[in-house]
């Protein structure tokens, strides 16, 4: 990777095309205009899809995050045929069972990479510098993913599903949430697993990624002063 000199073009301020002075007065201050302006300020295209990053990003420790995202995409891809053909397909046919295995290994990789990402960003202190919200979104994404995975196991319709649900129900019931999530009702666990929880997980992960792009990758502890701007800003 080519490295530019300090203060290279990648640090130039990004101009918005949405200058209010250029808009006819009647079009200013609409909610659309405000929303568009907020979004463009938070996520100018070059920040959303950067073509440069600070030099310290060159480390294998940064790879876990994108691998987690890729695993999430893989989970969706392998989950679609399972959702299309249903339980009889994955319990009763060899092709269905193979897709079940693909989904299974995708989730194992997903959590493995997520854990590696968690350890890496923790060791970096990546919650520093107005990045606490990003951190909390990440923890929430983990928790929602765990519940999603549990409902996946509960929907398998094999012995492990029987065992996980009959054991897991006690913890759910103990918290008083039995009315909301009856693990023994496969109609409920399956729809939670293929519809509501993945939507929640993907939504939270999406906002997490947006906030990573918005604030930028946290600078190293004790980064040189001349490498940091005077005021607040993204990296």
């Amino acid at each position: 990777m080519a490295e530019s000199e300090p203060g290279g073009w990648g640090n130039q301020p990004i101009l918005l095309e949405d200058d209010p002075q250029k808009l006819p007065p009647t079009l200013r201050n609409t909610l659309d205009w405000r929303g568009r302006r907020w979004f463009l300020r938070a996520w100018p295209p070059r920040r959303l899809l950067p073509d440069t990053e600070p030099t310290y990003v060159r480390s294998w420790f940064y790879v876990a995050g994108i691998l987690t995202l890729a695993s999430l995409v893989m989970l969706v891809i392998t989950g679609i045929p399972l959702a299309l053909f249903g339980p009889e397909w994955w319990t009763g046919t060899s092709v269905g069972a193979f897709f079940d295995s693909l989904h299974y290994w995708a989730v194992e990789l997903f959590f493995l990479f997520m854990f590696a990402h968690f350890i890496a960003v923790f060791l970096m202190g990546a919650f520093r510098g107005r990045r606490a919200f990003t951190w909390m979104l990440g923890v929430t994404a983990f928790f929602v993913s765990v519940v999603t995975a549990l409902t996946g196991y509960a929907s398998l319709q094999d012995f492990e599903a029987q065992w996980v649900t009959t054991q897991g129900k006690d913890a759910v019931n103990a918290t008083g949430l039995g009315f909301l999530a009856n693990l023994l009702n496969v109609g409920q666990t399956l729809t939670l697993h293929v519809a509501l929880l993945p939507l929640a997980a993907i939504g939270i992960v999406g906002i997490h990624v947006l906030w990573v792009r918005r604030r930028g990758v946290v600078p190293p502890y004790d980064a040189l002063d001349e490498h940091l701007t005077e005021g607040e800003g993204a990296t």
């Binding site: 899809l49 420790f61 295995s101 923790f122 008083g176 399956l190 502890y221 040189l224 800003g233």
Partner: protein, 346 residues
Amino acid sequence: MSYRKDDQRAQRGWRGPRVRYDLISEGLIALTVVALLTVGLSAMFGSPKVEAISFQSWAKAAPDDFVSTTLAELTGTSGSATYGPPYTSDTENVQSIGPFSPQTWLGVTTPVDSSEDLVIAPLTAWAPFEAGLQQALERWTAATADEQAAWGAVALDSGISIDGTTVTLAPKPESSATPDASPTSAPSGAQSADAGPIPALLSAMLTGARSGALDSQSVNGPDRQYATDYTRSLLYIADGTYAASVAESYNLLGDQWGVMNQIGDWPGQPWLWWFTMWYQVPGPIRASFDYSDLIVVVFAMTMVLLVFFLPFIPGLRNLPRWLRLYRVIWRPYYRRYGSSGKRESR
């Protein structure tokens, strides 16, 4: 350096050296790597498959357990019959920490009448096929609750013997019965008679389970032509010891790291370690907290909240600074440029 200073420095933008970067390319490469890994691992190892326990497989593999569980359901002494909310209204076995018992807050939301739903309902469906069963069932339903309880007490205090699908109840060789538990004070050798129609009802249930009738009919009720709710049948199966013995053979019990494990050498759900580990805590902590699922949930959720709020918790948020492992992550940067306050040679 204090966390506040670290935090303020990290709010500043970056004007240092940059490297070429292509997010979409990196994403595509990552997706390719993950896809290859997923396909490779699936082709090599597949995924665990163990058929679900059915009433038929249970009754064939462990008829004693099936019959004694059915007796417990009929007499209202099983785990699910005495569970408390959300299945039953009694509160004897409800989980609580002092007065804190969220299990009871919403009451019974998934009602289960073990005797009626799990035993009497399927037997009622089969009764027209067999006069003997019809008579036994009529005798049971015509009896008062006290009579049923008395029969039940005798049956529960008896030993179960099974010949084919015929269940007989006989006094246990060394009965541990107390006068209270055996209100009819049945004379030795005559307990079967005092258990009323119970042996006949148990025999019919065993016959139905072994033939597969109990599975195909399902205890979920005739009003559920399209059933997705297996609460009742799963509670029934979980009330026995057979499911647990199968689970134990696969190292799936709670004190074997429970639901986190999977059969064989498959990795299971290792992401649940922060929850499952609390079931493994031995000794005084376990004893002093009268270990319940509720305690485990409280401990585990406390961990989650600590991690969630970590950026705001003094001490914890300084851990990365103290561990200094960030120097490994950013070694190339520090080597080339040094660090603020202390320039390092290349």
